[in-house]
Amino acid sequence: MNRRQTIICSAQSITVFLLAFAFFNFIYPYHLHYQEQMQLFRFGQDYFVESVAVPGGFCDWIGGFLVQFFYHAPAGAFILSVLLGLIQLLTWKNMGKGSFASYPLSILPAAAMFLFFCDENALVTAATAIIASLTLSYALMKISRTGLRCIITILLMPVMYMLFGSISILVPLTVGIRSIIRKENTKTILVFCSASFIVAAVTLLVARGYSPYPLNRLAFGIHYHRYHNAIPLLAWISVILVPAAMLLATAMKKDRMAALSLAIAVLPAVCLAPMFADMEKERLFGYDFMTRMGQWNKILATSDRHPADSPIAVECTNLALAKTKHMSSDMFSFFQNGPAGLVPEFTRDHFSPVPTGTVYYHLGMINTAQTFFFEAQEGIPDFQKSARLTQMLAKTNLINGDYEVARKYVNALKQTVFYRKWAKETEKLLDDPALIDKVPEYSWMRSVRMKDHDFMFSQEEMDSMLGLLYVENKANVMAMDYLLAWCLLRKDLPRFFECHKLLQDGYDARHYQEAVVLYWALTHDGPEGMPGFVTRNVASSFARFISGFQSGRDEASMQKEFGNTYWFYYYYRFK
């Protein structure tokens, strides 16, 4: 390649890196946060030994090490981009003395991995395994004697399998293909291929003997995808694309074929990216992240821009409304899906209980929050722990006064990069529990949590539980907001009225007025005796609503005028 061609090739690599970075940092950042909270990477011997004890464990350990930096999305985007860049570069190196035209083909495996990482459950381990394998095969190709190279490769296969996992098959594959391209001794290559096949099979069988995993997982990788039943197809396509690119490169000798080569490498990824990128999930992860960080106004702004219509988004929006004290006045300006939009029922998965646990935490239902956090952590499909959830469990145990358990979690977090500071500060509280009540978050939680009434948590009796929370601490306005909202969302106006009647002044927000006036209209012949806090504006607006409703105005026009009222929800939504 001449200087100009070298510059063009470098530009291609840089573009791949920049595009990947831009995608993950600006379009897909919440996926990175999701990844980060699905693990608890600890510096320590026990964690290291536990990780490397299973096939592919070393690359998994490296992957975990890298994913902890996803705590900051730009760092995560940078790391993923570097990994993709390294895959491209190492593919190119393994292609030998490739031509200018064949250079874009080296992007193919990285492009497949890019699509792979659009799946939130795709694990970085797959990329580290490919990089490790390509590095090793590149090093092995430095051995000029074919026989010696083949023998070393075969001898290394079990070790590679143990360190990198089943993707390490890429090493003999690359070495074999490269030897074929180099037109080395055919007989030696044939023997090498047969021996590789036998060693791979024997390695698998041996691993089956000592490793508590089914054969398919040992063959397709234990740590390449979070779900153990899922075959990480794109990661394997990426693996296959390495020798494919090497072979294709032999046919791309002429410079004028560079455009064709670039099209082959880039177009599929560009065309397929919208199919693989799940922006709906990205929004969900966004809501969860903003809830975690307490970015309440940002949640409301997001819901305003893009109506929150999924259960988790509605739940987070309602929590943001409560935290900003807008629930009673603006709740129905946002989409509502019934009482499940306040606190959804528990589901046995690793994600949805997290925002729900956060709602319970803010309400002061510490045990329930702890249950949800613990269950979410236990539900992580690849049996990892979660740094985020461990932190929340440390908090709930600290609030509950279970200091030894809290300390156990704090100890684990002390071995991390991003939670260490928090853990150290919390450790001081555990050493001197008198300091706990001086931390506003904990002292507030302790003041609003249930102290006198014990009962078994029951989703069906949410109104009773919220009512008791409020009764035990009248400062827990959020509990009362949730109780009233619970009644409103269930369209249980008698219960709403009953609860509302018990309250002092100050509960005269717009939606409460709307509910009272509606309840009055449904149960009385006239406005006589209606609570005085219902303003003239609300009353006249209600009159217009009823008139429109009774005259059969179409839903769209009613929504335009009354879409942000409780009346519209009552008659047109959650039927």
Binding site: G44, D46, G209, P212, R348, E378, N400, N411, D454, F455
Partner: protein, 480 residues
């Protein structure tokens, strides 16, 4: 450049993966050493009782272990034995005391080496102390004379939960192992032959759980429980596990038949936790009067009862005897476990219910089966939960689970029981680096059972069996 990168990577790798003793990991701060191995009684065949000093500051301690003319000194805040030295000392001190002196503590203490042997090892389930969802879990085996532990079966191999496991007096060749979930089954290993069974029949309440082997090996007593969970909202309680119904039955191993009788399948009684007497002619169990759930969950109290059993015919008697009327004490019995020599029976006593692991007040009690006297095992008990327990095959050691250290993560303890039923101060299951190990062990020890030899479980075969849909159906017959 490449070399530098390599060095940095190796540096990170070393820093990230090395072990060093860190006293700040301690979250058990009661007493000067942890685990508390002061004045305990141990068997000769136990792994070294390594421990650490809980004080992070001050001069570095020198700990001296003496017996006769043997003196072994170990310097450091963490006392880590050389295996050979430990074994030599224990052999020499068999039936006698080892005197332990520390350079930083005023008073010496002893380790009494019992003449009674302990079994080869123990089996237990490792599981996070959670609620409904479970992460990685499995049945593990630990050799007691060393720190060697291996997984026998883990749920990485199939979708499901490994559950109740039981051996016939620790015999590793005969065991019952229950799997829950979509691949639910009971694996029965009879003299090396394993098969997967469907234990639910039309005539019984549900799947068979809480197995207990008949000493003759021809029967296994089970209960069937309709178990539910509830979650408290107050700080000092977390979980309540209770039954909505439960019955007993005995499985006839040779004739593949589940036997029950009206006496242990009463509608107005919840029967659970069966255990055969040492002579195999009685079946101990717990029984409670049903109460409305969850309103009166705190009123459910189980008594310790027994019923006759005829091993010749497999028939269950009709008369129920109440051995411990716990209801009258306002308490509740769970996990009755008779010693294999027939002298004693150890049970757990809590305020109510039968899932004592979630009861901080739960303690171990011992019943003298000859005199009928019952008393709390004060030396073994603590301020927190003591729950599941198991006898060694020679009935001289009792292993039990306890939450005494942090109130949540269950650990294992061993106490020596002498011929009069007197327990010794218990010692915790030893680990090479106990503080570090237990600090980062995020699973509880569950259902610990002694085994007299290593369990040869064909993991791949078991996995295949569990993942297949083939099940041998339990038969059923009424007791004669």
């Amino acid at each position: 450049m490449m070399k530098r990168v390599l060095y940095i990577l190796l540096g990170i790798l070393t820093a990230a993966s090395c072990y060093r003793f860190d006293p700040s990991e301690a979250y058990y701060t009661d007493g000067p050493i942890w685990p508390d191995y002061m004045d305990v009684t141990v068997p000769v065949g136990i792994a070294p009782l390594n421990f650490c000093y809980t004080a992070a500051d001050g001069p570095v301690p020198v700990t001296t272990f003496s017996h006769g003319d043997m003196n072994i000194s170990i310097k450091g805040r963490e006392v880590v034995w050389k295996d050979r030295e430990w074994k030599k000392l224990l052999e020499a001190a068999k039936g006698d005391d080892i005197i332990v002196k520390s350079s930083v503590l005023p008073d010496p203490w002893t380790i009494h080496v019992s003449e009674d042997d302990i079994d080869y090892g123990i089996n237990y389930r490792l599981i996070a102390p959670g609620y409904e969802v479970y992460s990685k879990m499995g049945i593990h085996e630990r050799e007691l004379s060393s720190y060697k532990e291996k997984a026998l079966l883990e749920n990485t191999q199939f979708d499901g939960c490994v559950n109740c496991h039981a051996y016939n007096r620790g015999n590793p060749d005969n065991y019952s192992l229950h799997i829950r979930g979509s691949h639910g089954a009971t694996l029965l290993n009879l003299d090396g032959e394993m098969a997967a069974y469907n234990t639910q029949t039309d005539s019984t309440l549900g799947f068979c759980v809480y197995p207990y082997w008949h000493p003759g090996g021809d029967y296994i007593a089970y209960s069937s429980n309709s178990t539910r969970q509830g979650f408290h909202v107050l700080a000092d309680k977390l979980i309540e596990v209770f039954d909505l119904d439960s019955d007993l039955q005995v499985y006839d191993v040779r004739n593949n038949s589940l036997i029950t009788s009206a006496s242990v399948k009463k509608e107005n009684v919840w029967e659970t936790f069966p255990a055969f007497s040492a002579d195999g002619r009685k079946l101990f169990f717990c029984a409670a009067t049903p109460r409305p759930i969850p309103a009166e969950v705190e009123e459910i109290r189980y008594n310790l009862c027994s019923v006759d059993f005829d091993p010749a015919t497999g028939s269950i008697g009709s008369r129920i005897d109440t051995l411990i009327f716990a209801e009258g004490m306002g308490r509740s019995v769970s996990f009755p476990k008779p010693s294999y020599d027939g002298r004693f029976l150890v049970y757990t006593l809590s305020d109510y219910g039968n899932f004592s692991i979630w009861h901080h007040e739960a303690d171990l009690w011992i019943l003298d089966l000859e005199t009928g006297e019952s008393r709390p095992m004060d030396k073994a008990n603590s301020h927190d939960t003591e729950s599941y327990h198991s006898w060694s095959s020679n009935s001289r050691w009792l292993m039990f689970s306890s939450r005494r250290d942090d109130g949540l993560y269950t650990r294992l303890f061993f106490t020596h029981i002498d011929e009069n039923g007197q327990e010794s101060k218990p010692f915790m299951l030893p680990q090479k680096h106990p503080l570090h190990y237990y600090s980062y062990q995020n699973r509880s020890y569950n259902v610990p059972e002694f085994v007299t030899g290593p369990v040869e479980l064909d993991r791949a075969g078991a996995e295949k069996m569990i993942n297949s849909s083939e099940r041998v159906q339990f038969g059923f017959r009424w007791s004669e």
